[in-house]
Symmetry: D2
Subunit: 98 residues, 4 copies
């Protein structure tokens, strides 16, 4: 049993965890909705519109995580920790931008 | 009885329907996987990496649909039909690019 | 000397050529403006804001070209030509989306 | 004489200034190259390919700036400063992702 209050960087989104899970459940429903449209042979442009909406929703989730992480890693930890996280963060942003 | 060879734009992805549904089921599993990571308080950078992978998977689905649609709407239908679909397609691409 | 009015696919944007050139000249000015900001050691977030504006301007140029091309290649040429252009177009869109 | 360790946020990219300016000059040349292609009525797909290359080059510049900024604002300044910059950074990333 771990009860020590170690600085756990995984808790950057702790305050928004429920909101995050709600958004992800909604995104899951959106993916199912897209699959249903395909099953029903719906018009491809309409399917694409729904995929774009899903992508926008996921981008919002991702940016929320980036925000929590930036606000977290800029505040907690010492300089050395922050430098290490900076590299991870930049790589992560690079994957989102491309 | 309809025997005219009317273009049915909904069937642009007919040939890839099973592949498309398989990809969407996988994407649904990916969203659930991301939600599980959040539930388990996993490190936000790792969650972001999975969201980027999910986004890339959805982009692939979207581009597959665009491909089917372009190949379909450029072949079937008369000039008038194609012009109408061109506008839809361009708007749809605009939503994907931004 | 080539005087034959062959269907030249390069003329998809002929009607918008002046508008296109004007936008590109403006984009060139924007790049120079960003360089000037860097030379003057301006704040990096402000430089990033200008790069985002430039990117949005270039996306608009790209989407305008896609629109002209789609409207062109869906109307001109025979089925065979259109199929060939469809592949190019989809690859081109793929490069824009990623 | 200023001996206070005030954080100067404008110097995040100081170490890469020359590289940055070189990249921006190259990007300026790329925009001019695209304009020349349009003037010469080159094929729109080829123009689009060059615009995609230009966009990729600008994304690289932007990510370099983000990296310098993150490494800078995570190291210099006090907690209060870092929190303020965190918001700016997240907004800036949001503009790049969309």
């Amino acid at each position: 049993m771990d009860t020590t209050p170690t600085p756990d960087p995984g808790h950057g989104y702790a305050a928004h965890k429920e909101q995050l899970l709600k958004r992800l459940r909604r995104a899951e429903g959106q993916v199912r909705g897209v699959a249903k449209m395909v099953e029903e042979d719906r018009y491809c442009i309409d399917v694409l519109t729904q995929i774009s909406a899903l992508r926008a929703a996921l981008d919002k989730v991702a940016l929320g995580l980036v925000e929590d992480h930036v606000r977290h890693c800029m505040v907690k930890g010492n300089e050395q920790d922050r430098l290490g996280r900076a590299d991870e963060l930049v790589q992560s942003i690079g994957r989102l931008v491309r």
